[in-house]
């Protein structure tokens, strides 16, 4: 599904160059939930942005279904992202002036007729457990858990093949964290691919495969309580 080859990224920190990602290669299968763990500041978000086509790497290729996303024109790249990749962030990134429903429908409002789109948005919201009473609310007036569920609904509106999650549970309590993780599991079970970044061991354990990012290098790590299942997956 996703091939990452020799990915490198360097940031300029005043005069010195810091190589955040150093020749990372990785392949993620369709239907796999891949988690990347590492302390904050190690370059997890940078890695995700590169993978999502949002941040041009210095070197390397990101290949989705045989196509190098950085070889695409800007417009085509955007379109690919719109229809194939869903995003979830730690800080939700909901637009504050749109209602909950509008936020969910937003990615496709220029692509699909309004009525079916909103019907789809509503069913997605219901799926993630948002009650109809708050469809017309502003995101600001909601709890973190609700916001993240709405963000998930938005990420799913185009029925993407891949979900990219940047610390999706970072701002949530345990209860909400589990709800979100369960939703992601459900998504994975429907055959979709998930790439998730976190600094939380427990969250990372929900993935099929875990990588640790440190010093710009990615290394595979065994799941803590499930060494066997990791074996069988290989």
């Amino acid at each position: 599904m996703i091939e990452i080859r020799d990915l490198s990224k360097t940031y300029n920190h005043f005069s010195d160059k810091v190589k955040i990602l150093n020749n990372i290669s990785l392949s993620i299968d369709k239907g796999q939930w891949c988690t990347i763990i590492g302390p904050s500041g190690t370059g997890k978000s940078t890695f995700l942005n590169c993978v999502a086509g949002l941040l041009q790497p210095d070197d390397g290729e990101i290949i989705y279904e045989g196509v190098n996303i950085y070889s695409l024109k800007d417009k085509v790249k955007s379109e690919y992202r719109r229809f194939n990749i869903g995003f979830i962030f730690q800080d939700f990134k909901l637009l504050p002036h749109y209602s909950v429903l509008d936020n969910v429908a937003l990615p496709l409002i220029y692509d699909e007729p309004k009525k079916p789109l909103y019907t789809k948005a509503k069913s997605l919201l219901e799926m993630v457990g948002i009650k109809e009473q708050i469809f017309n609310r502003l995101p600001e007036a909601l709890s973190g858990g609700e916001k993240q569920r709405i963000a998930i609904a938005r990420a799913l509106i185009a029925n993407p093949k891949v979900l990219i999650c940047d610390e999706p549970t970072g701002n949530l309590d345990i209860n909400n964290r589990n709800i979100i993780l369960d939703l992601l599991s459900e998504f994975k079970n429907s055959g979709k691919t998930i790439i998730m970044v976190t600094h939380d061991e427990e969250v990372a354990n929900r993935g099929d495969i875990i990588y640790k990012l440190s010093n710009g290098i990615l290394e595979e790590r065994m799941k803590k309580n499930d060494a066997f299942s990791l074996e069988s997956n290989n």
Binding site: A52, L54, Q56, D74, K75, S78, E79, Y80, R81, R82, F83, I85, F87, K93, L95, P96, H97, Y98, S99, V100, D102, L106, P107, Y110, N136, R137, L138, A141, R154, A158
Partner: protein, 808 residues
């Protein structure tokens, strides 16, 4: 603390710099706006004066002599001095004349409508006895008016040289035995008084014939009859003729003179006219009914022989052609009768001046007329007698200075019907066309007729002006101010120009008359002052809105930083002090810069004062705005329509206000700019003023443009900055650049077009009220709308691309 503030200013170099620049502009431009009324007035006057100093600089009239129509349309009809009531005495004039800064002070007084002595027209002595019937006509170019009742005279072929036999009814005239004389009808002409020397200096026309002696022999009889009465010398204008036609019918009659001698109880040798008057009347009545053997009718044009105050006697020869008469009669009997008229009562309505008939007649009278004096035939001793002693001939052609100066008594421009027919003043006092003076008399004579304050106007030329510079202008203004303080009605006449006025004359129709502006300067100045005031008000509003909005924006940014500082444990007092301090700091830098500039430009003390006032107001505004606590909106439900507009209303509302005021500023500037241009070109002299105004108005226009662009850009910048997360979001969810641009542009279009439209409508109404021509309003609206749309569009697109490029 100070270092912290300073660091923040430095770290935001560009923002701080533009704010200081804008504040500096405000500290400098507003005082200039308030002050430039005087400056521009001088400039406008100057340019006119440089290009065309008229024959005089200042028109002085008695106070309250400005007519209603003059106030309304800002113009005077030609020969506007006529029908004035006076109000300035000779002593007052002499006092004005004595002022050493005045080179010429030429007084003028309209006296009234007078008639000169009548002369005779001699009828031919044909081979057959003839009954002559005639009637005199005058014409205003369109219609003919009878000047007298039809009269008749019967000529007998038995006449001998020196003993002409005829019969006619006498009216206040004597009969002659030598010729068949009939008297021309009475016509009336405007008489005006001048001072010979000063008028000559002013106009370069020779009036010295007013000093001619009169022929006392011809006045002998009158002097003998009435004693020593004042004789007023008149010089008549050489180039004015009176339109007069004689319609003459000659009926050949078969008559036997002896029959009529019998009827008149005369002997064979007697002259027929020596008979008893009543009997003559009776016999003529009888003769008038007699059937003619043959008839011929003739129309004889006497116009070229008739001057206002002294016609040339003529003789109609046997072929009914006009010859000069060698033997003639003249009649002074009615020269002591005259008329005065009130000013025409113009009623302006939709740019048309209506004139109504006051008294029907031949021709009708359009003014209220008062008959004065007594006919000499009434045997009452007259107060004076007028006698023509010479001529004057002003060289009136379109190019000469004389015609372009509203001297008030000389103009003979053509007045036309709408279809182009030329109209002439009729020879009655009530003519709706203001007559030029047909004759001139001295001021001393004027006193005899008009009383102790005869002068209607004094045209003043200021001394010591060889070159027209600011100094000269100041000189003129000084003299004008002095005269104004003395209680006169004063106009600075820096050249005047013709401008057509449309009159709707009852009984005639639409008439186009060349009126004159007393001074283009005044008119331009007035519209200019209105414009400056409006611009200043709009500009101040604009600046106020801009300043308030940028404080609000600043407050928004600071609030986020304040939260941080609170977390860091700063006391609230200290945080607030930091916020104020930075604003004060920027303000003071701009203020000190502007003060420096005012000093460098060597401007008046007022500039410092206004600048300081603005500083105080600005400080107050900072305090008020920063001390108001903003309530966080606790709205939960999203807005259905334009949610982003409502959500960002704190930024969008001020932006809309700025856009609204900029629109008005631009439209008003452009439209009135065009209007001034147009108005100036309408009058002959106006175009010279354009250059000067052009520069200044262009400066204002460009400043307006820069400021509105600047204000708008800042607002849009703030808006986009506040929404930078949104850009990022759109990018992440896979919207293309084009889509993001369209999405945001659509939203911006809604409120920008709303405020631009509102501004356009408002400025349309303002300009309509100001009397700006509709086509210029349209030009202003279209160009401003396009300019603003381009600015908004450009900033939006540029900003969009910039924000997007940051995301990549």
């Amino acid at each position: 603390m100070m270092r912290l503030v300073w660091n923040r200013i430095i770290s935001r170099k560009l923002v701080s710099f533009t704010i200081i620049l804008a504040l500096f502009g405000i500290f400098l431009l507003i005082p200039i706006g308030f002050q430039n009324t005087n400056e521009t007035k001088l400039a406008v006057d100057n340019s006119i004066a440089e290009q065309g100093r008229g024959t005089y600089d200042i028109l002085v009239r008695p106070s309250h002599s400005r007519t209603k129509v003059e106030k309304e349309v800002g113009m005077v009809e030609e020969n506007y001095i006529g029908d004035s009531e006076g109000g300035i005495s000779i002593q007052e004039w002499e006092k004005i004349k004595q002022n050493p800064t005045i080179e010429v002070a030429a007084p003028v007084a309209s006296i009234g409508y007078f008639s000169g002595k009548k002369t005779s027209v001699e009828l031919p002595q044909l081979d057959e006895s003839t009954r002559f019937t005639w009637e005199f006509y005058t014409s205003d170019g369109q219609k003919e008016y009878s000047l007298s009742e039809p009269q008749s005279l019967v000529y007998f072929k038995e006449s001998e040289p020196g003993n002409t036999q005829y019969l006619k009814v006498l009216h206040n005239e004597t009969a002659s035995g030598a010729t068949l004389d009939v008297m021309l009808p009475q016509t009336y002409h405007l008489l005006a008084a001048i001072d010979i020397e000063s008028e000559q200096k002013l106009t370069n026309v020779d009036y010295s014939e007013l000093k001619n002696e009169f022929d006392s022999f011809s006045l002998d009889v009158i002097i003998k009859t009435f004693g020593n009465i004042p004789i007023i010398k008149v010089i008549q204008r050489e180039d004015i003729n009176i339109p007069i036609k004689m319609k003459l019918k000659a009926d050949t009659l078969t008559l036997d003179i002896s029959d009529y001698r019998k009827k008149l109880s005369l002997t064979e040798k007697d002259w027929l006219m020596s008979a008893d008057r009543n009997k003559i009347k009776q016999v003529i009545g009888e003769l008038n009914t007699k059937k003619p053997a043959s008839t011929s009718e003739h129309e004889i044009d006497l116009t070229s022989f008739q001057k206002p105050f002294d016609g040339t006697a003529v003789k109609i020869n046997n072929q009914f052609k006009v010859d000069l008469a060698s033997d003639f009669a003249s009649d002074r009997g009615e020269t002591t009768v005259y008329y005065t008229a009130e000013k025409l009562d113009y009623n302006s309505e939709n740019d048309i001046l209506n004139i109504k008939i006051i008294e029907n007649g031949q021709p009708p009278s359009y003014k209220k007329i008062v008959k004065k004096g007594e006919s000499l035939y009434n045997g009452v001793k007259p107060k004076f007698l007028i006698e023509q002693v010479g001529i004057f001939s002003p060289k009136v052609d379109k190019e000469s200075k004389l015609s372009s100066s509203p001297l008030g008594i000389y103009a003979t421009s053509e007045i036309k019907m709408e279809k182009g027919q030329v109209l002439k003043p009729t020879t009655v006092p009530g003519s709706f066309i203001p007559q030029p003076a047909g004759g001139l008399i001295t001021l001393e004579s004027a006193e005899i007729i008009k009383g102790s304050k005869p002068i209607d106007a004094i045209r003043v030329r200021v001394a010591g002006i060889s070159k027209y510079n600011k100094l000269a202008q100041q000189k003129i203004e000084k003299v004008a101010t002095k005269l104004l303080q003395d209680g006169y009605e004063v106009d600075i006449v820096a050249g005047s120009s013709f401008k057509n006025a449309t009159l709707e004359v009852e009984g005639i129709g639409k008439v186009i008359a060349p009126w004159t502006t007393l001074g283009v300067a005044q008119e331009l100045e007035e519209s200019w002052n209105g414009l400056t005031l409006l611009t200043t008000i709009l500009f101040v509003t604009f600046v106020f809105v801009w300043f308030v909005s940028r404080l609000l924006f600043e407050k928004g940014t600071l609030e986020k930083e304040d939260e941080l500082l609170t977390i860091l444990g700063w006391p609230r007092k200290k945080i607030i002090r930091r916020n104020y301090l930075e604003q004060y700091f920027l303000l003071f830098i701009a203020y000190i810069l502007s003060i420096l500039f005012i000093a460098i430009l060597n401007l008046e003390i007022n500039y410092y004062l206004i600048s300081s006032c603005i500083l105080i107001i600005a400080i107050l505004m900072i305090n008020i705005i920063f001390s108001i606590k903003r309530k966080k909106s606790d709205r939960v439900i999203a807005y259905k329509h334009s949610p982003s507009l409502v959500y960002h209303s704190r930024i969008i509302m001020p932006t809309m206000l700025i856009l609204f005021t900029s629109t008005i500023l631009l439209v008003v500037q452009i439209a009135s700019f065009g209007n001034t241009l147009f108005m100036s070109q309408q009058s002959t002299l106006g175009q010279f003023t354009v250059d000067v105004i052009l520069g200044f108005q262009l400066f204002i226009l460009i400043s307006t443009f820069i400021l509105s662009t600047f204000g708008l850009t800042e607002c849009l910048n703030t808006l986009f900055y506040a929404r930078r997360e949104e850009f990022n979001m759109y990018h992440i969810i896979g919207w293309t650049k084009k889509r993001i641009l369209i999405h945001l542009s659509k939203e911006i279009f809604i409120w920008t077009s709303f405020s631009i439209c509102l501004g356009l409508i408002t400025s349309y109404l303002i300009l309509l009220k100001m009397g700006v021509r509709i086509d210029w309003i349209i030009v202003g609206i279209i160009s401003s709308a396009s300019i603003l749309c381009i600015v908004v569009g450009f900033v939006t697109i540029a900003k969009n691309l910039f924000m997007q490029s940051r995301e990549n």
